[in-house]
């Protein structure tokens, strides 16, 4: 067995060469736990995110939109599955991670603690929330941990569909009747700021960032990602004919970027700590579905056990 020092050197060399760490490779414990926390949180976000959008499936205003929305929410379930599988390569099970979520020891993206009040919210989530997710995830396709990077490549392809579909919903509304346009503007007013918060606290206050950057899990800082996102959505909002609810949003020719107004970090912290409008409802929904499904999962296990006993006795 090579010495730990030698293994650590090899690990650092792999990172320095910008190559991937694979499940069989040695890795520092901190790297492993950081990845588990991040991938699990990402997986939980995909799964909890099914709720706010699922909220509109039964009421979608056309059969075509209903079909697109069902397919989208189904994709999110699929993203959850790929991500739990990526986490499992680090030696934890999906069941353990689910328990940690249900016990409140692991989190999901705070954005899903806001309610979807109108149909336009489905458009705003697709455009802004999936858009922010893509901005976050494109650099993760080059993350140093192979299984996570590969999961992100698949996820990003589907997220860009989601963003386009969300944009199209808003475009249809903003080019529709005055009531439809007002519905779209109202949704944008409510989702703009929370979507900027999705990139996390400013760099100066971000606790895990530096280490994640050194490990090449994270490639760009929170503020850099947020800037990319703002730069992307400003021209898109113009094309929609909608107004971003940020009076200080201006083009800064010197920086070559848009400057945005101050983010209400106090609200971010309150939602993160569990006091957002839907934190309790989201967790209650998730725990109830899990508890109500227990007899079904038990039956599947019992049935499989009976089959394997039969297989053994036949052999």
């Amino acid at each position: 067995m090579p010495e730990t020092a030698e293994l650590a050197e090899r690990f650092e060399a792999t990172l320095a060469a910008d190559q991937r760490i694979e499940p069989r490779d040695w890795m520092p414990e901190g790297y492993r736990t950081t990845l588990i926390r991040q991938i699990a949180q990402h997986a939980h976000s995909e799964v909890i995110g099914m709720q706010p959008e699922g909220n509109w499936i039964s009421r979608a205003p056309s059969l075509k939109r209903k079909a697109i929305l069902v397919a989208k929410v189904q994709d999110e379930a699929g993203h959850g599955l790929y991500l739990y599988s990526a986490a499992e390569t680090l030696g934890v099970s999906r069941a353990e991670l689910t328990d940690l979520l249900h016990d409140g020891q692991q989190k999901y993206s705070s954005i899903f603690n806001y309610p979807t009040l109108t149909w336009a919210d489905v458009g705003a989530i697709g455009w802004l929330v999936d858009g922010a997710a893509i901005t976050n995830q494109i650099p993760l396709c080059r993350c140093s941990y192979g299984p996570y990077a590969r999961a992100m490549v698949r996820v990003c392809k589907e997220e860009s569909f989601h963003q386009r579909q969300g944009y199209e919903i808003l475009y249809t509304l903003s080019h529709g009747s005055s009531r439809q346009k007002a519905m779209a503007q109202d949704a944008l007013d409510r989702w703009y700021w929370p979507s900027l918060m999705m990139f996390g606290p400013p760099d100066a206050e971000s606790t895990h960032s530096a280490r994640s950057m050194a490990w090449r899990i994270k490639r760009l800082s929170n503020d850099e990602l947020r800037q990319r996102f703002v730069d992307m959505i400003v021209p898109q909002a113009e094309a929609l004919g909608l107004t971003l609810p940020d009076p200080q949003l201006t083009w800064n020719a010197e920086r070559g970027h848009y400057d945005h107004g101050p983010i209400d970090w106090e609200e971010f912290t309150r939602v993160l700590r569990g006091h957002g409008p839907c934190n309790a409802a989201r967790m209650e929904h998730k725990r109830r579905a899990h508890a109500e499904g227990a007899w079904v999962r038990d039956a599947a296990v019992a049935y499989a056990a009976k089959r394997s006993v039969e297989a053994v006795s036949v052999a």
Binding site: V47, M50, Q51, G54, I57, S58, R59, A60, P61, S62, L63, K64, R65, K66, A67, V70, A71, V73, Q74, A77, G78, G80, L81, Y84, R94, W119, I169, T172, L173, G176, S177, R179, Q180, H285, A289, E292, G293, A294, W295, V296, R297, D298, A299, A300, V301, A302, Y303, K306
Partner: protein, 248 residues
């Protein structure tokens, strides 16, 4: 409406209402794989509904959305079976087993219809429904022959659904007319195949085929259960709140 249009509308309404119910499971399934599977089945049913409603509406210039969103309860001609609330997972599986077995036999025959549109829709749908049926069969076996609790729940689910299944096979003047013209299928003609398929699966799952009388029916004539009004209220409310707006 012509006989073909009404017949198509019946099949479309069955698929639409079944899809609406099944989609209610998304984010509530016993495991993530089932959220995916049930969403997938709901999506297939919705696709069938869209093709069928589009075709039914083409006879008098209505769109799929006109038919889905702007008809009142008494104008829907789905069987009552598909509008019942989801109940627990066992109830949903029992319904999917009975319904997919029915749809499979129906679409298999309808794919030979003299009406090229119906034949094409059915030929595509039968492949989808083969998967739905397999999914329901697998779960019927697991739940029937799983734990004591799952066995009891599954048997109760079968019994709750059973009285509504008779309506699937009702023949009337319309089904006889479209069957005689070679464009539709009279469902009474394949009920023995359905019964023997269901019997076989339930026996394998250690479950008992219910012996219960059929309930008084009427879905095909727009007589529904009290659940139907709420289903439509939810499905249609947005569209009807914006009567001027047709683009979404």
């Amino acid at each position: 409406m012509s006989a073909v249009a009404t017949y198509t509308l019946r099949l479309g309404d069955d698929a639409l209402v079944a899809a609406q119910r099944l989609a209610g499971w998304i984010s509530r399934a016993p495991e993530l794989e089932e959220d995916l599977a049930l969403a997938n089945i709901a999506l297939d049913l919705l696709g069938q509904a869209r093709s069928l409603l589009t075709y039914a509406g083409s006879f008098d210039g209505r769109s799929e959305d006109d038919l889905a969103y702007l008809r009142d309860e008494r104008e829907f001609c789905n069987v009552q079976f598909v509008e019942l609330p989801n109940g627990d997972f066992g109830m949903t599986i029992a319904r999917m087993l009975f319904f997919s077995a029915y749809q499979y036999l129906l679409y298999d025959r309808l794919s030979g219809s003299a009406d090229p549109t119906l034949a094409a829709v059915a030929a595509r749908a039968v492949k989808e429904v083969a998967y739905h049926r397999d999914h329901a069969v697998q779960w019927t076996l697991r739940l029937g022959d799983g734990t004591d609790e799952s066995h009891v729940r599954m048997q109760a689910a079968l019994e709750a659904c059973w009285p509504y299944t008779a309506e699937l096979f009702e023949s009337d003047a319309l089904t006889r007319e479209v069957a005689a013209a070679g464009v539709g299928v009279d469902p009474g003609t394949f009920s023995p195949q359905w019964a023997s398929f269901v019997d076989g699966i339930l026996k394998e799952a250690t479950l008992t085929v219910p012996v219960l009388p059929a309930r008084v029916t009427g879905g095909r004539r727009g007589i529904h259960t009290e659940h139907m009004g709420y289903l439509l209220a939810e499905m249609q409310y947005l569209r009807r709140s914006y009567p001027e707006d047709t683009e979404w």
